[in-house]
Structure formats: structure tokens, C-alpha cells
Symmetry: C2
Subunit: 329 residues, 2 copies
């Protein structure tokens, strides 16, 4: 059943059917009703591929929204993770006749600014339920990138931090290490929370005591007090698993000031797999998140939502890959 058949049955042209389908204005209500009835009767569902192929004539207009904090880092090109993710989306956008615009995620969102925007990507762990509710209310197609909010049913793309962390812990245990601590960022960022949960659960499954330390990675604060406290209360660990590569590298630097050798005294494993880690001394062991794929997938999913009908919201998790380098045994 395609619109040609529908047109025949409704005794109108396919152009008219298309207009009804796209709720264009220029259709008399009589004609519209007639077509709608046939549509319902035959339970017509449009072919999304044909729709998009045909739609290629005009560009899809998408917003990539990021918090001021991340945006600042993006400009400085010092946030390799989000830079790479966003490169992935822009690249995919180019191949899909979509034009993207990077926009700051303000606290007071304005419906006016979204005129002509077909869909929105909300990038980063800063995204809150309130942000999501705003876009849902105005019916704007929406995908969260690197953030998941259990209480709001909205599409999102995240990395599988739970299993990645679990893998890291199991790996360290298999190398004979038992005193493994976790240094993590703020847990309202789902990525960090997920890795935290994976670390904790896996430690417990192996009858080891989880020990976690929160570190403010947003300002990259001095880590000496944290390490100091760790050494004094918990003792010197055999391994540190960090929320991400930047925290891991900060930890290694700090340990160095304590005259601790990595990996001889302490193994360190990060998360994300940014390039910088490869050239760090020692090269950083890490769990690699496919950043470009994350961005690319987010964009594709957003287009699915923009063009298809009745897309059920899902959470998409990307597998991570352990990369053994010099910072761990």
C-alpha cells in the first residue's frame, strides 16, 4: 500500500495525499477527510526511506545544544571527547543533507529561537530532566548524547560504562591486584554514575571492598588533598580506576608528586580513549568509547525521529573496548 494506491482509492492525486500526510494547509477539509478515511481504513504507513530520499531536496535543520561549560572547552579544543563526538555528528550530517548549528544550552530556553528547527541534539552530562521536558512539551524531536535520565522517556545515546568498568576491574583482579579504588566525577552525569555502578558491583561480586573518591573534574581541581586522604585513611591502593582519561592523567601526575611510580606501584586505568592518553607518559590504559560513532549514531537517530512516525524512545549503549597501555600492569 503506497500513496499512489491511496490516491486512486480516494480519487485524488498523489500530490494531495502527500499534502494530507504532511498536514499542509492547502487542502479543503472535505478532501482531507476523504483521504484521511482511506488512510485509516488501509492502515497506511509511509515508507521512511522513500520519504527521506525525496526529502533530500531540502535540508534538515538541526541544533546541537551544549552547556556553556562544554562550549567553552570546545572552543579551547581542550575537550577532546565532546569535540570528537560533535565532529562525528557534523560529518554524518553532511552526508545526510542536514545543516547543524552549535548552540549554547541556556537555562531559559526560548521557543522563538527554535523556529524552523527540525530537531535537537542535547550533548553532555549536564542535561537535566527540565531541559528534556521543555522540548517534549513543544514536540521537538530530541536525542540526548552522553546522558541518560531514567525518569524521562527520551531517546539517548550513551557508552556502556557499566560493563566497561566491570571489565577494567576484572582485568585488574586477574592481574593479581585487589586494592582497587575508583576516582570519579559528579554522579549526576550518567556516564560517571554508570561506571561507578559497574566498578562497585564488580568489586562486591569479587568480595572486594569498593572505595570511591569524588573529584571535581569540571574545574580540574588540585588532586593532592584527595590522594593524601586516600593514603592516610585507605592506604596505598594497588590500582586506580578513574571516571575518565583526564582524571586518570591528573591522578598519575599527582601520584608522581608523591613519588609513586605508575604502573610499578599503582596501575591506573582511564575511560574514554582520547588521543591525548596515547602520548601521555606513561601511555594510558583505558576503555575506549567510540566517540565518532556516538555522534554519528545520535544524528542518525535524530533523523529517524524527525522523519519516521511513532518511534518508540530507546536508550542506545555503545560497547567500549579495553586498550592496554603502559599505565597499568
Amino acid at each position: 500500500m503506497n500513496i499512489r494506491e491511496i490516491a486512486k482509492k480516494a480519487d485524488v492525486s498523489i500530490a494531495t495525499v502527500s499534502r494530507v500526510l504532511n498536514s499542509s494547509e492547502n487542502v479543503s477539509s472535505a478532501t482531507r477527510e476523504k483521504v484521511l478515511e482511506i488512510l485509516r481504513k488501509y492502515e497506511f504507513e509511509m515508507d521512511p526511506w522513500a520519504k527521506r530520499l525525496a526529502s533530500k531536496r531540502n535540508k534538515t535543520h538541526l541544533f546541537i545544544m551544549v552547556s556553556r561549560r562544554i562550549l567553552k572547552f570546545l572552543d579551547l579544543e581542550s575537550n577532546e571527547f565532546y569535540s570528537t563526538v560533535i565532529n562525528g555528528t557534523r560529518n554524518t550530517a553532511d552526508m545526510n543533507r542536514s545543516v547543524t548549528e552549535i548552540v549554547e544550552m541556556e537555562s531559559n530556553l526560548d521557543e522563538e529561537k527554535l523556529k524552523g528547527v527540525d530537531g535537537v541534539l542535547l550533548v553532555g552530562g549536564d542535561t537535566t530532566a527540565e531541559h528534556v521536558r521543555f522540548f517534549k512539551k513543544i514536540g521537538m524531536p530530541l536525542v540526548l548524547v552522553d546522558q541518560y535520565i531514567p525518569t524521562v522517556k527520551v531517546d539517548c545515546i550513551v557508552s556502556n560504562g557499566y560493563d566497561g568498568a566491570s571489565y577494567a576491574v576484572k582485568y585488574l583482579i586477574s592481574r593479581g591486584l585487589k586494592k582497587i579504588v575508583h576516582i570519579h566525577g559528579f554522579l549526576n552525569h550518567f556516564g560517571f554514575k554508570d561506571r561507578y555502578d559497574g566498578y562497585k558491583a564488580t568489586m562486591e561480586q569479587n568480595n572486594l571492598l569498593p572505595k570511591t573518591y569524588e573529584y571535581n573534574d569540571e574545574v580540574m581541581e588540585d588532586m593532592k588533598p584527595l590522594i593524601d586522604k586516600m593514603f592516610n585513611v585507605y592506604g596505598v591502593p594497588e590500582a586506580i580506576f578513574a571516571s575518565n582519561d583526564l582524571i586518570a592523567m591528573k591522578a598519575i601526575e599527582t601520584l608522581r608528586s608523591f613519588h609513586i611510580r605508575v604502573p610499578e606501584d599503582i596501575s591506573v586505568i582511564g575511560f574514554d580513549g582520547i588521543e591525548k592518553g596515547k602520548y601521555f607518559t606513561p601511555p594510558l590504559s583505558t576503555l575506549k568509547v567510540p566517540m565518532r560513532e556516538m555522534g554519528s549514531l545520535a544524528l542518525k537517530r535524530l533523523l529517524d525521529i524527525v522523519y519516521d512516525q511513532d518511534v518508540y524512545p530507546v536508550r542506545i549503549s555503545l560497547f567500549t573496548e579495553f586498550i592496554k597501555r603502559g599505565s597499568s600492569v
Copy 2:
């Protein structure tokens, strides 16, 4: 950059470019090389939507593979969950010029039987890493339905049991109940394991003691001994959260034989949201899994893998929805 432009640059027809792209035999190696070079030079990427639209002329041939156990239940139409999921996939297949065939998942898989098959859906919690490895080895596009295996990177569609379970527990707690036990099926089925983890974590977060009982739902064994043991050792709980609706209903029936009233004495919440639960006495509170969407999404994802290039494997989780009915306060 489309194949027409490539054809022009390579000084061949678009048909020839298409043949090269689809590694058809009927191209001289000289021509093929020439085309491949241009393809590489311009980093050509095919438009998947156009490809699929055009491909609609011939049908995609897909296998839906299920274990003998599930297949048996399917025939008896007593396994509403998988029946509905598979209906969802077949429905979506119809709308996508795909022909599906339900095939029993044998232990000794045969490559011969897969001749002419474009992709495979592996349905059910019985799927093992070995199964997956077999298909990956022969390069067969593959999607797991209702099963996730952390150790193998393969596409899969599951329900978000963790958050569903978590929601159920929090709900019961909010109703003033504290003695909440969990009756679950075998934990090698990811769906059950996920719900189990969600139950356990949420209980602990609320400083409540998790208490779990394993029940063999595959043979629907007598539940009296289990309940008996529960009452004797743990005492009478205030609520039971079950791995799925069938287990929940079995529990309610068994409780009845103990002269326990539901929900007055014990609240019971299931999982899945099968129709049967709606007409049960008392009507079953449950977490509804969008079963048709699960099947539909699995098929769409499989087609993505069959037709697109370089698809990075992902896990897709479907949100669940709490449905309050008579079996719980």
C-alpha cells in the same frame, strides 16, 4: 557525490559502478580497479535510503531463530511475550519487503542452511555466546532479541529491566511496604538478571535487605515449596516483585492456596505486561514492555546492518511503563 558522478569520473556507466559497489561478478578486473580507485579517491559513501528504496524490488530474506523451548511455546500460543515480539517483527518485515522464516535454533548450526539468508534475528534469553560467534564468523548480520551478552559485541534489543525493577521497588516503598522479596527465573537470561540487579540495588539504596528466590519458570514448577521456605525462613513479605507476569500469576495462585490475600496481605507486581495479566484475578500490576516495538526495532536494526556499511554494534534498551492494577496497593 553520488554514483552518477563517480560513473562520469571513471568513464563508465552507473550500472557498472553499482556492480562494483555490490561486488557483483560481471565486471572486468580492469574496470573494477578503475572504479574502485575513484571510489576511494572521493571517499564515496552510498546513500542507504536510496539503496533500500531501490532494493525494494527484491525481498530481503531473514531468519527468525528461536530455541526449541520457545518454539514449542509459540506453537501452543501460550508464550504471549515472544509471540507478540515476533508478530511485531513480522509486521514490520511485511512493510519492508522482507520475508521472514521462523527457524529452530539448533545446537549444531549448519552454514548450508543459511544460503541466501541476508540476516538473522536470534530471539530469546537462551542465546549463548557460542551461537553469536558462529554467525559472526561467517559474517552474517545478526541481532539478538531479549538477550544481551556482555562478552560479545553484537547488536541487541532488550527491555530496560533495571530501571523498571527499580521503579517497582521504589513504588512499593512509597506505599509503605518494606519487606519486598523478588522471585526470579534463571539469571543467565539477561532480562531476568537485569531486573534482579535493579531490584537488589534499589533495595540496598533504601537500606532494605534484598531477598531473592530462584524459580524454574521454564517448566513452571510447583511454587509451594518456594513459598513455604520463604514463609518459614524469611517470614511473610509485604510485597513480591516477580521476574515476569507468568511467575507473578503463579505466585498469586500459590499464595491463594496458603490463604493469603492479594493485595490485602501481599502486593504482587509482575513484568512484561502480557494481556493475560489484565484479565487475571486480581488484575496484575506490572511493568509493561513494548513487545511489538521490541520486535519491530529488532527487524529495523537488522535491516540497518544488512544494508548500511560500518554499523557499530549497540545495545538498544526499551523503556518500560508501570501499570498499576489490582494485585498491588
